[in-house]
Structure formats: C-alpha cells, structure tokens
Amino acid sequence: MPVTDLARVESRPDAPTGVRPRAVRVAGPFAAALFLLAVLVLSLAFGAKQLSPAEVWHGLTDPHAPGYTVVRQIRLPRTLLGLLAGAALGLAGGLMQALTRNPLADPGLLGINAGAASAVVSAISFFGINSFTGYVWFAFAGAGAVSVLVWAVGGGRGATPVRLALAGTAVNAVMYAYVNAVQLLDTDSLDRMRFWTVGSLASARPATVTGILPFVAAGTVLALLLARPLNALALGEESANALGARPARTRAGTIVAVTLLCGAATAACGPIVFVGLMVPHVVRALTGPDLRLLLPYCALLAPTTLLGADVLGRVLARPGEVQVGIVTAVLGGPFFLHVVRRGRWARA
C-alpha cells in the first residue's frame, strides 16, 4: 500500500521536520492519481455484468462493441458522477474542518447534506420539479441555510467539536423527520425519491453529470483559492489580519464553497455521510496541515474512497447492490469512533 509507505517515509526520524521529503512531494500526487485511475477502471468493470479491462476499453471507444451500452450509457456516467461528488464531499470536509478547527466536521454529520435533501424533497413534492437543473437550486438554498444555522447554533467562532456535533445531530433529526413526513403524505414523491434519500450513484445519467460539473468546478476553484487565507486564519485572528488575509471574507467564501460543493453533490446522489470526514484525516496524516497540499489531495482521494465504496457495494450484493451511502456509513462510522477515542478533547 503506497499510502502507508508514504506515511512511513514521513515519520522517519531522520526526515527533516516541517519540510516534506522530495520523494513524497513528487511521488505522492502521482500515487494518488494512480489509485484514482485504478478505482475508475474498477468502477467501469464491476457490476451485474463483469467486464475485462480490454472489454472496458472497447466499450469506451468502439460503438459496435458488445459492452458499449453498459459502459457508455450506465457505468461511465455513474463513475464520472462518483468522481465529481466524491471530490466535492472531500473538499467540503477539508474546508469545514479547517474553518471550524474541528476534527469531527463532516457535511453529513453536521446536517448540511440533510438540509439540501429536505429542500430537494420539498421541490419535488410541492413544486413538482423533477429535473436536476430545477432542484439543484433548492439544494443550494437548503445547504446554505443549514450551514449558517449549524454554525450559529454551534457557537460560531467559539464552537467546540461536541457542540457542533450536537447541533448537527439535531438539525439532521429535524430534517429527516420533515423528509419522512413529506414522503408519508405524498406517496408519489416517495416512489420518486426513495432511491435518493439513502445516498446512491445508481441513478446517474449523462445529464446529471453535466448538470453538476459547473458547480463542482466553481466550488473546487474557490476552495483552492481559499487554501492560503485559511492557512493564515489557522494562526488566529490577529495573525491572519497581519498577514493580509481578511477573516470575514474568508469565512463567507468558505461557507459559499461548502454550500456549492455539498449542494451539488447532494442534489445529484443524495445525502452521503463520512466521506468528508475520513478523507481529510487520512490526507492530513500524509501532508500535514497545509491546506495548499491537503485540499488537492482530498480532491484526488475522496473520489477514490467514494468510488471504492460504490464498487464494494456492487460486488457485495451482486446481482443487486448496496447503496454507496450505506457502505460509507458502515465503513466510515468506526473511523469516526476511532477519532473520538483518540481525541484529547474528549477526555476533558
């Protein structure tokens, strides 16, 4: 496993502290990209019908190949959607952990995905909007409103991890009760969004992918631009001011980026937990706290995690499948418990 190799290189006692060894800087992104590529191929190859790499290649390039329909119409959109949504969730998680200085921040746990979900459910049920481009705006509104709400209830700048987690749990509970109520009152909409409330990539269509692409791209660019001011903000309010970063603008920008990323990801594949929590933690062990390194790594490794979970879900229950949201909850939960048990603030 190159990841553990890299971690070992980094923790070598003779390695200079603060400066990453050159090998890690060069090999790291390369290895991460390689991983992602491998998972992309797996995601195209596995499913109800298993294809060899050669068949995948033919299916991608040759319209007359037997695998063309499966690969181009079903698995390619699904894989691309996983790539975009994964990157969005990973970046959002990294941004939130940096902004709140909270190791437990995750767009799913803090209720932001649930906020987007309940807005989308309202759009489908009350306004009869069924197209992705229609309800994505509702998702943004819901995600934005909940990020501000959780941030405010959780204590704003003085938020502690416990308080934010509790505020998020409360918001989650309210939102899910609302979603349940709407679904029970309106059986038609229950049928239309059953797939969606678990968190799944299975419904991906080419239009969904092109629909979220601009939003994820905008969010990604904004996130990468924010890396430097957020780094400065980590030093504290005064130092950040002295370094020329504008704290208020940076915070507002971060919330906008998180809203864009979470809203787009949730609108496309439903609320997914723990991806945004796990990936930044693993990456931080690799790169250290510098966001200029951390965020690009998140954007590479989070899709790897999400697609890996998706492939796992497809393999485990063949010929059916386990939705990716369920796989990430079951795999990511123990990771969360580990972080809690290890954390020093939980001992206080």
Partner: protein, 341 residues
Amino acid sequence: MILRTPGGWSVRVRTRALAVGALCLLAALVFAVVAIGSGDYPMSPAAVVRTLAGYGSAADAFIVEQVRLPRVLTALLTGAALGLSGALFQSLVRNPLGSPDLLGFTQGAAAGALVTVVAGGGSVALMGGAVAGGVATGVLIYALSWRQGVHGYRLVLIGIGVAAILTGVNGYLLTRADIPDATRAVLWLTGSLNGRGWNDVVPLLVAVTVTVPPVVLGGGRGLRMLEMGDETAYALGVRVERLRLMLLAAAVLLASFAAGAAGPVSFVALTAPQLARRLTADPGPNLVASLCMGAALLTGADLAGQRIIPGHQLPVGVLTGVLGGGYLLWLLATQRRRGRI
C-alpha cells in the same frame, strides 16, 4: 414539606414536584380520553368515561376496548417509559443532551427489530428483537466509551457515531426486506402507534411495572447524590458502581421496550425531563415528573398527529421529531449563552 409519622419516620415531599407530576398526569389522562373519543365514530368524553367504567353500550364498549384503548395505553406507557429513561440517562451522563435517541440506543433497538422483520418474524419477535438490539447497543457504547471511567462527552460522541453507523445498517436491512415487510418497517421506523393491539400493550406494561417502582423508589435518592460526583456519593453511603449499572440497565430496558412497542419515537426522552425540570424548578433527577410529562407529551403528540392534517394520519414520530428537534436547537442556543453545554 416534611411528613413525620409517630414512629419516627420522616419523608421529604417536594410539593411543587408532586403538583407538576399530578398536572402532567391529568393532562395525559385528558388527552387519552379525547383520543379515545375521536375518530370516525365520535364519542363524547362523558360517554368515554362511562364506557371505561363499564357502563357503556355494547358498540361503545367494542370500539373502546378493542380498537382505541390499546393504542392510547401504548401511547401512555411508551411516553412514560421514554420520559423516565431520558431522565435517568441525562442524570447519569450529567449532560442535558444525553437522551437515548441521540446516543444511538434507539437506533440499536430499531436495528434489532429490522433484523426480525427481514427474517419474517411477527409482532412478538419484533419486540424481542428491539429489546435485544437496544441492550446490545447499550453494552457496545458503554464498552467503547470506557477509558478509566465513562465520561459524559465521550459517551455522547461515541453514541452519535454509533447512531450514524446503525442508521446505515438500518438502511441496508430495509433494502433486504420484501416489499410488504419494507413498507411495514418504514412506518415502524418513523415511530407510529397505528393499529396497536393488546399484544403490544402487555409486554410494555410488564416492563414498566417491573422497572419503574424500584427505580423511582430505590434509585431516586442515590441518583441525587450521584450527581454530586462519585466520591461524594460514595462517602454518603451510595454503592456507586452497583447503582449506576442498575439504573443504566433499567434506562436501556425502558427505551428498548418503548421502541419495541411504538418504534423509535424521537425526542420525547430528550424533551420530557427538560420540560419537567423547568416546571418543577428542581435540579434533581425529577423522575416522577419526567415520567408523567413523557406520557402527556406522547399522548398529546399522537392526538395532534391524527387531527393536524384532515384526512391524513401523521405518525407520532414525525410530530415529535419536528417539534423536539426545534426544541433541541433552542436549548442548544440558550444553554450556550449561559455557558452550560
């Protein structure tokens, strides 16, 4: 107020706490009578009381005894169990947010129940599954948060994590069930009292009558001392570990049986002790007041759920979820200002 007997025994009675408990009980009974009287076959409250006392017409007696009374009794008992369980948890973890539904115990009970649904079990098996699941989750959370003692915040965070995992597991179990079973399970997961019969009431009634008297009579005093800290309580003659284990077991049992009867109804266990505490103005565990408050809240919520949207029956869990969640947010906001959480 202190009552003394000629034999030299004395007992301290908190008048306000007693009054609050009595008022909540009264409210619960009024809701119950109104709930029994309302529906497609309306009955006046007087008729309901007459029927309950055994002097009603045959038709009234059938409707009340076979259809509406089991549901109302389930609501009363579930609410009481949840209220008491919430009061015990909040006192034991010394955190106003330590309720079984935020800490994952309810989700554990739901997972146990879903396993029996997937395996094709009936209503008795479902209740057994819920109890087993709740107890197993209780043991798991306790073990995971143990590190030189169980600490409040760690228990809360571990519980939130376990709750998130179990939500995923429950989603998976739902996809494994057949369509009719899945429909039944979805309604059950929301927390609903629709169609509850006597076979739902009896196990719950047994659980409540077995657990409540020893907890309220034997545990209330010790719990009050336990809130002062383990060492102080020990010095005052409380067997700390034994008491804590007993109360925790009782709380988990109550929450599990409640979930088995009505599904994972959210937020009653959280709000009932909080409201009771505000009304009694007593910082202690408020066990009896919380119990009565829980019964009143759940019965009232079920009644409102049947009435609030004409032509639709909202499951009680939806109502408590929306109202209780809003209350929790308000609680977080105000407690934060006072620096308590």
